[in-house]
Symmetry: C2
Subunit: 332 residues, 2 copies
């Protein structure tokens, strides 16, 4: 990225653990990302300042290389309305409640900021640079602490009346089922997220089930992570395998609802939990296949996303570049 | 419709009980519909001949009045790909399995035939002439023997990769729940369709529950209809009310999934079962409200469709008129 006259956008990704920022050009090339730890306890002022700092550094970098910046796309895990520049709620960032994040950030930096739901950004990255190149419609499910999704139909990101469409994690898969973080019961997120896997594993430990997780976490069950559970499952632990199997099965139920409703060309699974994709995908696909109408099913590919954790930055920046007319992504 | 030079399309609606056809002009005015009983046992040849007859009569009528016909839109309850002119399956018409209905019909009549899923046609009628005028996105759920849906997003009917998107009746609301007509378990249709209500009422009778339905249908439970159940519920019968309440509650669960995923401006409920709308809508809305994110919920209206049983004809013809450039319906 040293070409004078080149155009780029800043892609930023505000996660519960890290804030990442990079310059992204219209070919989808990324500068070396900056990473800052997300200020703890979701303090809005500290997060804003960290974001502003990162943006200023990249503005400086762009200027030094003669790159013209067309804006900053900021992906945030949460309910938000990008058009209004407003974050309704962000579970990982308790300080962001009904916050005019766009306005507050633009007061600190000299660049236009566009908010985007993180799963929407990932879906656009998939469409632009990933498995979704050349398709007309795709759903990108992000499986992590929660479950988000971005939906692209006929080449356009679905935003809906609220600006916050695509909450596939809160499709209901079991009407009277497990309590979800959102307060309701039986959402997909209450079954197939890292949080759900962890809840089930802790419950198994509390019941005294015989598992390889028992000894290491007997004294400190709070130290258990979803990765410990998937590692144990991969090593053959039957309790951990059962827990992963349940999460995968409900994922397949959710996929069936998506296929029946949207009949997309492609569904990709992204997010941290897909590190366990080899354990999740086959049983999820088996459940899907047992449920979905064959004529719909055979037109939808379901696969793990090949994009790395940079997808959020790429997608958030890509949407800004596309809006500014510097990106030509065509649906078939 | 007597103006010479006027343009119209034939709107046809192939249902399990009746075949209806009428001329529809670009203002949404309808000629007096022709109605034929649907040939029994879904014999494809007899149905094709009946449809062809009706189309010929309307062609003659159009000619006699100097009306130019731009095509025939045919709504069919079933899985189909309108672009391919192919009916995959139609539950009410067992003879229509992987049938090139468009081609077979066009061999019999001198007009271009466009197939449309019946719920898609109803959704378009809602968008063109009903509660959806002026909105950007809507879902029309048709509650009858089965549950169908048509989805309009940013002014465009969602067809999906298979051409058969919008099967909201087969969103899963209870992963291990009631067996659905499609073979899978726990679909919305297995809870909130007339078929589900009837199944539950017959089961209540078989269990010997105390209900006003018991005496009239003791000897002939097979004569019971969903309307008998809704009539009994309206008259205060507690068993019938419980059955309707369950159907309504799951309808609310399905609405929550739709709101979370699509965040549409409007969801309308259409179809025969909405004759019981006063019994269904309030508990469904209560369930929805208890589940959905307020920021999404407050942007979606949910209401009973005010369109009559002519909606299928209007919508199927309207889509043909729109494709031919004779209709200007704009999303806001």
């Amino acid at each position: 990225m040293r070409e004078t006259g080149k155009v780029a956008a800043i892609g930023a990704d505000l996660g519960g653990t890290n804030i990442r920022l990079a310059l992204v050009d219209s070919e989808g090339r990324l500068s070396e990302p900056y990473r800052y730890p997300t200020p703890p306890r979701g303090e809005a002022a500290a997060i804003l300042e960290t974001l502003a700092q990162g943006i200023r550094v990249l503005q400086h970098q762009a200027r030094a290389h003669g790159i013209r910046l067309v804006g900053c796309g900021l992906g945030v895990a949460g309910l938000l309305d990008g058009r209004a520049g407003l974050v309704y709620t962000a579970p990982n960032v308790p300080g962001f409640q009904n916050l005019s994040l766009k306005k507050l950030l633009e007061e600190k930096v000299e660049v236009t900021v566009t908010l985007e739901n993180d799963a929407n950004a990932a879906a656009f990255a998939e469409y632009w640079l990933g498995a979704g190149r050349g398709v007309s419609s795709l759903v990108c499910l992000t499986l992590g602490t929660g479950i988000g999704s971005g939906i692209i139909l006929e080449g356009k990101l679905l935003r809906g009346a609220s600006g916050a469409a695509g909450e596939a994690g809160h499709m209901v898969v079991e009407a009277d089922g497990e309590r979800c973080g959102c307060g309701a019961r039986g959402c997909l997120e209450a079954y197939s997220s890292a949080t759900a896997i962890l809840r089930d594993a802790r419950a198994a430990l509390a019941r005294g089930e015989v598992t390889s997780l028992r000894e290491p976490f007997r004294a400190r069950p709070e130290a258990l992570t979803a990765k410990d559970v998937t590692d144990a499952a991969r090593a053959g632990d039957p309790v951990a395998r059962g827990i992963l199997g349940r999460a995968a099965r409900y994922l397949g139920v959710g996929l069936a609802s998506l296929v029946h409703l949207l009949s997309p060309d492609l569904i990709t699974l992204a997010g941290g939990l897909t590190a366990a994709g080899d354990l999740l995908l086959p049983p999820a696909l088996a459940e899907l296949t047992g449920r979905a109408f064959p004529v719909l099913l055979r037109r939808t590919r379901v696969e793990l996303s090949a994009l790395a954790e940079t997808a959020g930055m790429l997608g958030a920046a890509g949407l800004v570049l596309a809006d500014a007319g510097h990106l030509w992504v065509h649906a078939r």
